[in-house]
Structure formats: structure tokens, C-alpha cells
């Protein structure tokens, strides 16, 4: 056994280096809180995943549906071959919308092809494909085009993992509007063996949604989800519409915030103060402490933290939509 300790000890040491993981786990001499006490009303399914539901009070989401088509038509750069310079020239010549270009000798066929591809009313998937191709991912049209989709089919999501890339996902939070209510559902893995079931639930959630909304989800949450599903041999082939609010916040709030962490934006722009919040960096440490002690009280602040992330996401979206409409 001593030999085994020597052989694996160096790895454990290196794995801990640079994190403050050690000291948290040993402090709990108090009674370990069981899962059902920490999350009363939560439901465990046979795979072990714990489902936690909540519906925080949030005003309904309202996206101007009528103005979307006009806003899309006004962006000449969406036509194949037209860049910023051509667009400016065309506007000077009185071509102010894509349909107006239909008779243009040079761009007529490209613009009518585009409109045909979009259809009437415009097909969201086709529209987002065009937007992703020709516009920066921070262009407000990505936000406004959400108006093409039923509000109830938008899925807000956020993952909590044990570290950066390559580490297990132990908590996934999704939120959607049902009527006037914002409903949050969190999937928690009480043991790492339940991760695969958690990921499969997420896969199903995504299949049912028309578009995803996240904060830094394009680089992180979505990548991790795909990587972890692939880890279990369950590749995710879909590439749904995905609006990452980080990209928009960066552009819209430049100069107004010192950095673009969600918590910074909450504080400086949205006026949300988190009390007793768990800093993101401590989330994996708390979960590890839970795994080692079985004390579910470590999980409560994580679950609250992830819930708040989702609520802030909605408030931020509303804020950014207002800015986009005003512009």
C-alpha cells in the first residue's frame, strides 16, 4: 500500500497545487446534512439525478416581434457579397432594405435568393445561419432576431463543473418562460456516476428548445457539454441557435464595467447585489468537499449560485434588448 501511495501521491499533490482545496474538507465536524434535508421537495430519478425546481419572481420577457423583420431587412450586409463599404454606398443610392435590392442589376439575384432562403415569415434557423456567417457574434441583430422564436422555446442554461475543460459536470441549470412565469430546473449529480444521466437530460432539454441563451456558453458551457457527452460516447451533433450574452455585454458595456464577469455586470449595471454568494472559483471546491464528506450543506450555496446566474442572465437579456431597440 505504501508503494501505491508513493506512486499516486505525486499526482494528487500536483492536482492540488494552485488550488486551495485541502483545508475546506476537514472542517466539518458537525452532523452531515442529507440531500433530502438540503433540498426539500427535490425529486431523485432512478439514474440518481436530483431535479430541483423553482420559479423566481421575474417579469415576463417581451421581445418586439413586429420590428424584427424590418430590422433584418435593413441590414444590407446580410446579402452575399455586400460588405460595409458597398452597404454604405447602396444606402446613399436609396437602397435602404434588402427587398429594395431585388431589382438592383448587381445584387438583385443575391438579395432575392436570400429572401427566398429565409421564407415568409423568416425561418429562424436560416436567419441565424446568415447572421452567424456575416455579422460579428456581438451584433445586436442576434438579440433582436430572437423575436422570430416563440418565447417559451428559448432555453437559458448554465453548467457547473469540477474545473475547466475535461472535468465532470455535476450541476446543470435550465430556465424557460412558461406563460408569465420563469421556471428554473436544476439537475444535480449527487455522485459522479450520475453525470452521464444528467448530460442526457440536458441533451433532451436542448432538443426541445429552439435556441440557447448563455453567458460565455459558446466557449465554455456548450464546449464542455459536447466534450463530456463525447467522453461517454454520446456525441452531440446538433448545432442549435445559440446567443452568448457575454459577446453582447462586452460590446454594449465597453467602458462602463472594469471586466465582464457576470457578477461585475450585476453590480455595476443591473443593480443586483448577491448576498453571501459563493465565488465561482469555490464551486468545485465545495462540491469536492461534499463528495468527501457526504454533507449536502456544501451543495446549497452552489445550487443558489447557479440559480442566480440564470436569473441574472434573463435580466441582462432584457437590458441588452432595450439597448438594441434604442440604438
Amino acid at each position: 500500500m505504501a508503494k501505491i501511495d508513493r506512486s499516486v501521491g505525486w499526482l494528487a499533490e500536483k492536482a492540488r497545487a494552485g488550488s486551495s482545496a485541502e483545508h475546506r474538507t476537514t472542517t466539518s465536524s458537525q452532523q452531515a446534512v442529507p440531500l433530502e434535508d438540503a433540498f426539500p421537495g427535490a425529486v431523485a430519478d432512478p439514474s440518481g439525478v436530483l431535479t430541483i425546481d423553482d420559479h423566481p419572481p421575474l417579469s415576463p420577457l417581451d421581445i418586439d416581434r413586429a420590428a424584427v423583420t424590418d430590422a433584418l431587412h435593413a441590414e444590407l450586409r446580410l446579402v452575399y457579397g455586400i460588405g460595409a463599404r458597398f452597404a454604405a454606398g447602396l444606402r446613399e443610392d436609396g437602397y435602404t432594405s434588402i427587398p429594395a435590392l431585388n431589382d438592383h442589376p448587381r445584387w438583385g439575384s443575391a438579395s432575392s435568393n436570400l429572401l427566398k432562403r429565409w421564407g415568409i415569415p423568416p425561418d429562424p434557423t436560416a436567419v441565424y445561419r446568415t447572421l452567424d456567417r456575416w455579422l460579428s457574434s456581438a451584433d445586436p441583430l442576434h438579440l433582436r432576431a430572437l423575436g422570430l422564436l416563440p418565447i417559451e422555446s428559448l432555453l437559458f442554461f448554465d453548467l457547473e463543473t469540477l474545473g475547466l475543460g475535461g472535468s465532470p459536470v455535476f450541476l446543470a441549470a435550465v430556465g424557460r418562460f412558461v406563460g408569465d412565469e420563469f421556471r428554473i430546473r436544476q439537475y444535480l449529480a449527487p455522485a459522479l456516476g450520475a453525470e452521464v444521466a444528467l448530460l442526457e437530460r440536458m441533451k433532451a432539454e436542448i432538443r426541445d428548445a429552439s435556441a440557447l441563451l448563455s453567458y460565455n456558453g459558446k466557449s465554455f458551457d456548450w464546449t464542455v457539454l459536447r466534450e463530456r457527452l463525447a467522453y461517454y460516447g454520446l456525441p452531440l451533433h446538433e448545432t442549435p441557435i445559440h446567443v452568448d450574452l457575454l459577446h453582447h455585454a462586452r460590446r454594449a458595456l465597453v467602458g462602463r464595467v472594469p471586466d465582464c464577469h457576470l457578477s461585475t455586470i450585476e453590480e455595476h449595471v443591473l443593480g443586483i447585489g448577491r448576498s453571501n454568494d459563493l465565488p465561482s472559483a469555490e464551486v468545485p471546491i465545495h462540491y469536492t468537499a461534499y463528495l468527501e464528506t457526504g454533507d449536502a450543506s456544501y451543495l446549497v450555496p452552489i445550487v443558489n449560485h447557479s440559480k442566480q446566474d440564470l436569473i441574472s442572465l434573463v435580466i441582462l437579456l432584457k437590458y441588452l434588448l432595450r439597448m438594441a431597440a434604442d440604438a
Partner: protein, 740 residues
């Protein structure tokens, strides 16, 4: 061109008769064979007027028959074409099939890429071959993953990419071939790291349904089958008979000791300017960049035309202009460190000079292979230094010219290393317990206890807070790693055992032909700080070791001695270090380093009935001398440096109760050398015996018994007794009684 050369040399004023003897390795005629290859390749060969050599045809046929293969024919025998043809043919036949090429160095991968691009264009294929490593621009990465059917990379990069396997799903699921070129780089502890990496790769490929065949290509080695088996974990057909025609090789054995008034460097410079002055294009290999530059400089002063010097780390443009100059003949001579030994396209030259034995026959013949154009005769000059290995090959031309090569050892038993790769594997795909050996299961349980793995119904899952691939590096020999830095540049990483031995404060350290001086060794911080310098001396540490035997694994009993192998605990103390100038000790310095204790593998020779024909006063000197000779000759059999082995002799070993010589792997956890030498011990003893017996000295000299790094300053040594012991060990009865 080579005819009459010796006569001309004898008429040179500076020549003192240094050519002690000459030998000829006869040339051979090319042996051709046909192989089944598809039309575009056949057409291309016809266009280029190439007729396949037998070994090339053998590789093609082996691949076609679904076999893995290892090809170990000499430098410039057309190995690249031998593996490129069947791989590209397979990719031609199946429009989805892909191949992965693994190179030890980025520069070698880039060279190979040029060849693949040329062949692809000539055969009108669309494979989009690309290198993919740390230098690949972000803007090309997605395209390579989407479209390339041949990807060339290196082990370090592959290690980092494996966890992102889903991004490579297209290539992995259609992976048809894995080519491991320059495979002899993967030996020792680094080799076993690569072996574990390849097992991880194959597990992932299997998950995606890819069924690749493997082709390994290596310099000539003694044990291609066992090496391949250790490295890739499966059996490979060995193809080692060279079918390419070779010109005759004339070899001069040059004894620099004949003219004690001139240094080796200055003699070599004269020889180089003599040869190049006669229009003989010559490459000269040295151990250090400093001596390469010195030789080039002083040959130019001698009036030699167009001599260049070359070292590792040259920019690609510089290298290309040198290659070009050598090919078109504007450069008549080049003096190089080992950097030009492999993988570089300089065509054939007329002569090669080896200044000092490069450590292995494998390297020696890679270097010698740089001379020789087609079937024209070429010249090789071997200039030995004054140490046992160099002098042995100098006085035993048959061994130098013979077909015998070193064994490559890939030790797979390091539990620390295994634990690291287990963690990485579990971070790549869940690791079902059923796939593990009992040893690995134990390690996995230990990793779970440390919170690095979690046992789940799908298998072990990695759960460390830091990425497994970040905490396990391929350079990480045994987990404890010392980093050597010069300014803010990382030169290399090493095991602490080696750091104490070679990188103590004040040490002169050689790294890829460049010399450095160690300013600081901080074992707690894991850091060696060096600076570039050109000292005219070298250093060696003086150590004393005690060895405690922990476990015996195998015993071979002989008439008068027993050969045993097992596990030991070594306690090493550092006495100081010597600075040596022109092979003479100029000073001994004290060294303040803590004791070092580590476990490793060892073999020992015990004489249970004593050595009655040696008087007690000569006993230790005799054992000690035999120990030195055995260590000095180890590199003949196994690819290693004599400094990779430690030794201890005792007239009465306290645990054995008899006169004993212990040889141990000088690396914590062992490097596999003792086991390899145990297997070949009779040949080792025979070489050591020949070395000492045939050396003309009477008391032992630097060419036979004296070791510059002996902790007891070569005291005592008794040559007649050492010869007696080695004779006993070499006279090996045919049927040793093996007891487990």
C-alpha cells in the same frame, strides 16, 4: 577519388602514422522485388525510374496483408518511401481513410510533410497532409480537422490533444495507419511514456471504430520485435535486410595518441583540410558545438575550402542554405554536432569523420551513413577518445563494422508513470475496471483514495480539480521533475537523480551540443539555473553509493558465481566534483548536497565460494576493476550511456556474505537497463574481458579500467585480478541453472 589517398597522406608533413589500421566493409548490389501497388503509384515510380528494393516491397506486402511492421534498415535505404507508399495506397483505395504520422521533433515532421506533399501532387491525390502541433495557426486548425487525411504531429502535442478526441472523430473513426518514424528516439523512460501514450491513443481509436495498422521506422537496432512490442503493445513484422545497393566503405582507425604534440581537434582539422583539399566532400561529427566550431575554424586556417559548421537550433533558412550548399557542392566540408545525424536531406557525401565514438553503434552508423553516394566507395574515419568504449571499438574493428547493434529498452513497470497515464486515460474516456491489469486496478484504487478518480458504473472517471493532461507531462519522468532553465528558456527536464549527478552547482553541462555552466541547483524548487559558456574543461561528480538489497527476482547459478537481479535501495552521497582539462584532473571541489535515497533495479554478481586465487589485499581492487569494465561496456549491448548505471563492489557484502559486484539503474524506480543486461550478461562479460585483457597497459589506464567519475578516485584497482574475474564471468557454461 579515394584511391591513393593513404599514400598522399603519408607524404603530408604533419602526418605521423596515425592510421593504426584500416578495414573495408564490402559493398553490396541492390536487390529488387515487386509489390502490388495501385496505378498512380506505379506510374509515379516509373516516371521517377524507381525500382523497389526488396525491403521496400516487403513493407508494402506486410501492410497489404494487414500486418504491423517495423523497418530498421540503414540510413538512406529508402525507408520513407517504403512506408509512404503503402499508407498512401490505402488512403487512395478508401476515400475516407486517414493516417497519423508521429515524429519526435517538429522539424522532422515538417521535412516529412514536404515529401508527402510532393508525393501527393505527383500521384494526383487530395489528402491535404498537414502538421498539427503547437505551431499550427489557430486559423488553420478547424480546416485541418475537417479536411486533412494525413496529420503529422509529435508525442507532446498528441498527449495534449487526446482529451479533445471528439473534435478528431472523423480522423479517428477512419484511421487506417499510424506511422511512427525515427522510433529509436522512444527509449528509456521517455520511450515508456510514449508507449503509454500510444496505448491511450489506440483505446480512443478503438472507441471510434478506427482500425489502424502501425508502421515503425527506426535506425538499426538489435531487438526490433521486442522493441516494437513494448512500444505499441502488439506484434510487428520486422524488416531489417537492406536491399538497397551500397558502395564499399573504407574505414580508417585513427589513433590521435600517436602524435602527443597535437590535440585531437588540431589533428582532425588537418585531416579535414587534407580531404576537402582533394575534392572529397566530408562531414565531421563532434560531441560539442565548441569543438565543431574549433575544428571548422582551424581547418579553414589550414587553407581548407568552404568549411561550414552546423548545430541544432539553426533557423530553417540557414539549414536549407547549408543543405543546398552541400548538395550542389559549393560547401566542401561541414563540421556538425549530432544535429545532422538524422532526417535531414543533404544527399550523400564522400567521407565522414567521427570525432569520438558517439555513444552507440546506432548513432555511429547513422553518422557514417551520411557518406556514400549510390554504389561509389566512401570513407569513414574513426578518431577515438581516451576512454574504454572508444578504445574498445578502436581496437576491435570487427565489432565496429559488424552487424551487431544495441538493444532498445522500454521499461514499462514504473508505477508512478503508470498512475499518471491511468489518470489521463480516465480523463479521456471512462476506464472500465475490466480493462485494467491487477497492478493498474491497485493504482486506480489509490487514485480514487486521493480524490483523483471516481468509481462509477461506467468505469473510473477523472475528477481532479486540475486537468490530468496538465499535471502529467511526457517529460515528467517519475513525477519528481527538475527543470533546467537558461535565462527564461526551458532547456530540458530531468529526474532528480540525474540532476544531482550531472547538474550540481559548478557543473559543465552539455545540452544538444551546447555547453552550459550550472549556477544553481534548487532541489526543493525543482530548478537548475544554467548559463551559456565555453569552458575548456568538463566536470564530473564524485559519489559513493551503498546498496541494500530489498528483493530478489531471479537467480542464475554458475560454477563459481551467481548472477542475480532484483530490487535495491541506493543511498548515494556526494563527495565533490572534479574539473578535468585535456583528460587530466585539474581540481577537486567539495560539494554540499544532501544524501539521496531511491529504489531501483539492480543486478549483482556474487562469488559464494569466494575468489580463492586472489589474495585478500587484491580482492577489492579486482572486483572494483571488473565493475568499471562491465559498466564501461554496457553501451555496446543496450542503448544507454555508461553514466546511466551505477556500481558498487564489496569484498564481503553484508547481505550476501560473499564478494559481490552490484550494477544498478541510476534512476529512481529503474530504467530497465539492469534487466536488459541480465539477459545479455555473458556477452557483456565477454566484451569487458576482451577490453581489459587486450589493453597494453599494466596497471589499468583511462582506456580500460579508469573511470573519470569513480567516487573513490579509482582506488583501489588491480588489473590482473579484474582480468581473472572477467574471464570467469565470460567463460559462461552453456546451460546455466535458472532458479526463480
Amino acid at each position: 577519388m579515394l584511391d591513393g589517398l593513404v599514400g598522399d597522406l603519408e607524404r603530408s608533413a604533419w602526418y605521423r602514422g596515425q592510421i593504426a589500421h584500416t578495414a573495408n566493409r564490402p559493398g553490396s548490389t541492390a536487390q529488387h522485388a515487386t509489390a502490388t501497388i495501385s496505378a498512380p503509384f506505379r506510374d509515379e515510380l516509373d516516371r521517377r525510374g524507381i525500382e523497389l528494393y526488396r525491403h521496400q516491397a516487403d513493407v508494402i506486402e506486410a501492410f497489404r496483408n494487414g500486418k504491423d511492421a517495423i523497418i530498421t534498415t540503414p540510413t538512406a535505404s529508402g525507408k520513407t518511401l517504403a512506408f509512404n507508399l503503402p499508407v498512401l495506397a490505402a488512403l487512395h483505395d478508401d476515400p475516407k481513410a486517414c493516417a497519423l504520422y508521429l515524429y519526435p521533433l517538429k522539424a522532422l515532421a515538417n521535412d516529412q510533410l514536404q515529401k508527402l506533399v510532393a508525393l501527393e501532387a505527383a500521384c494526383d491525390l487530395q489528402l491535404a497532409p498537414a502538421t498539427y502541433d503547437g505551431d499550427t495557426p489557430t486559423s488553420s486548425r478547424a480546416r485541418i480537422k475537417r479536411t486533412s487525411r494525413i496529420v503529422l504531429t509529435n508525442p507532446h502535442a498528441l498527449h495534449q490533444y487526446l482529451p479533445w478526441h471528439h473534435q478528431w472523430a472523423r480522423i479517428l473513426s477512419h484511421l487506417r495507419a499510424v506511422v511512427i518514424d525515427e522510433a529509436h528516439h522512444y527509449r528509456g523512460v521517455y520511450g515508456s511514456n510514449v508507449a503509454f501514450l500510444l496505448r491511450r491513443l489506440f483505446r480512443i481509436v478503438d472507441h471510434y471504430g478506427g482500425k489502424p495498422q502501425v508502421i515503425l521506422s527506426s535506425a538499426s537496432i538489435a531487438n526490433p520485435e521486442t522493441f516494437a512490442r513494448a512500444l505499441i503493445g502488439r506484434d510487428a513484422t520486422s524488416i531489417n535486410e537492406d536491399g538497397s545497393g551500397r558502395g564499399e566503405k573504407r574505414v580508417w582507425f585513427w589513433d590521435p595518441l600517436v602524435d602527443p604534440t597535437r590535440s585531437v581537434t588540431s589533428q582532425v582539422a588537418s585531416l579535414l583540410s587534407f580531404l576537402t583539399g582533394r575534392g572529397i566532400q566530408t562531414i565531421c561529427f563532434t560531441r560539442t558545438r565548441a569543438s565543431a566550431e574549433l575544428i571548422a575554424q582551424s581547418a579553414s586556417q589550414d587553407g581548407a575550402p568552404e568549411i561550414a559548421s552546423y548545430r541544432a537550433g539553426y533557423l530553417p533558412e540557414e539549414r536549407r542554405s547549408l543543405e543546398h550548399g552541400l548538395r550542389d557542392g559549393t560547401i566542401r566540408g561541414v563540421v556538425s554536432t549530432t544535429a545532422l545525424e538524422a532526417g535531414i536531406d543533404i544527399g550523400g557525401l564522400d567521407a565522414a569523420i567521427l570525432v569520438g565514438f558517439p555513444g552507440s553503434l546506432l548513432s555511429a552508423w547513422q553518422q557514417a551513413g551520411r557518406a556514400g553516394r549510390g554504389t561509389a566507395p566512401s570513407l569513414l574515419v574513426f578518431v577515438p577518445f581516451e576512454n574504454p568504449l572508444d578504445r574498445y571499438f578502436f581496437s576491435h574493428p570487427d565489432d565496429f563494422l559488424g552487424r551487431t547493434r544495441e538493444r532498445l529498452v522500454v521499461p514499462l513497470g514504473h508505477p508512478r508513470q503508470q498512475a499518471g497515464h491511468l489518470a489521463c486515460a480516465a480523463a479521456e474516456l471512462p476506464l472500465p475496471e475490466a480493462e485494467l491489469t491487477p497492478e493498474e486496478t491497485e493504482l486506480a484504487a489509490g487514485l480514487c483514495a486521493q480524490g483523483l478518480l471516481a468509481s462509477t458504473p461506467r468505469g473510473y472517471v477523472y475528477r481532479g480539480l486540475r486537468r490530468a493532461h496538465e499535471i502529467v507531462s511526457l517529460d515528467d519522468l517519475s513525477g519528481e521533475t527538475i527543470r533546467m532553465v537558461c535565462g527564461d528558456r526551458l532547456l530540458e527536464t530531468m529526474d532528480p537523480v540525474r540532476a544531482r549527478r550531472d547538474a550540481f552547482p559548478g557543473a559543465v553541462y552539455l545540452h544538444r551540443g551546447e555547453t552550459y555552466i550550472v549556477d544553481r541547483l534548487d532541489l526543493d524548487e525543482g530548478l537548475v539555473v544554467v548559463r551559456k559558456d565555453k569552458p575548456d574543461y568538463y566536470t564530473t561528480s564524485l559519489r559513493a553509493s551503498e546498496v541494500e538489497i530489498l528483493a530478489r527476482e531471479e537467480i542464475q547459478s554458475h560454477a563459481h558465481h551467481a548472477l542475480e537481479i532484483g530490487r535495491v535501495r541506493v543511498t548515494e552521497s556526494f563527495l565533490g566534483y572534479k574539473t578535468i582539462h585535456a583528460d587530466r584532473t585539474v581540481a577537486v571541489h567539495p560539494l554540499d548536497l544532501p544524501l539521496h535515497i531511491f529504489e531501483t533495479d539492480a543486478l549483482w554478481i556474487a562469488f559464494p565460494e569466494g575468489l580463492t586465487d586472489l589474495t585478500p589485499e587484491h580482492l577489492l581492487g579486482s572486483l572494483h576493476g571488473a565493475e568499471h569494465a562491465l559498466i564501461a561496456m554496457a553501451p555496446i549491448l543496450v542503448l544507454c550511456d555508461a553514466t546511466d548505471l551505477g556500481g558498487v563492489s564489496a569484498p564481503l557484502h553484508p547481505q550476501i556474505g560473499a564478494p559481490t559486484i552490484v550494477l544498478f539503474d541510476d534512476a529512481s524506480e529503474g530504467s530497465g537497463l539492469s534487466f536488459a543486461l541480465f539477459e545479455a550478461f555473458d556477452r557483456l562479460a565477454e566484451r569487458a574481458h576482451t577490453l581489459v585483457r587486450d589493453c597494453p597497459c599494466t596497471l589499468g589506464c583511462p582506456s580500460c579500467l579508469l573511470s573519470p567519475r569513480c567516487g573513490s578516485q579509482n582506488e583501489p584497482l588491480y588489473k590482473p585480478g579484474a582480468i581473472r574475474i572477467l574471464e570467469l564471468l565470460a567463460r559462461n557454461p552453456e546451460t546455466p541453472e535458472a532458479v526463480r
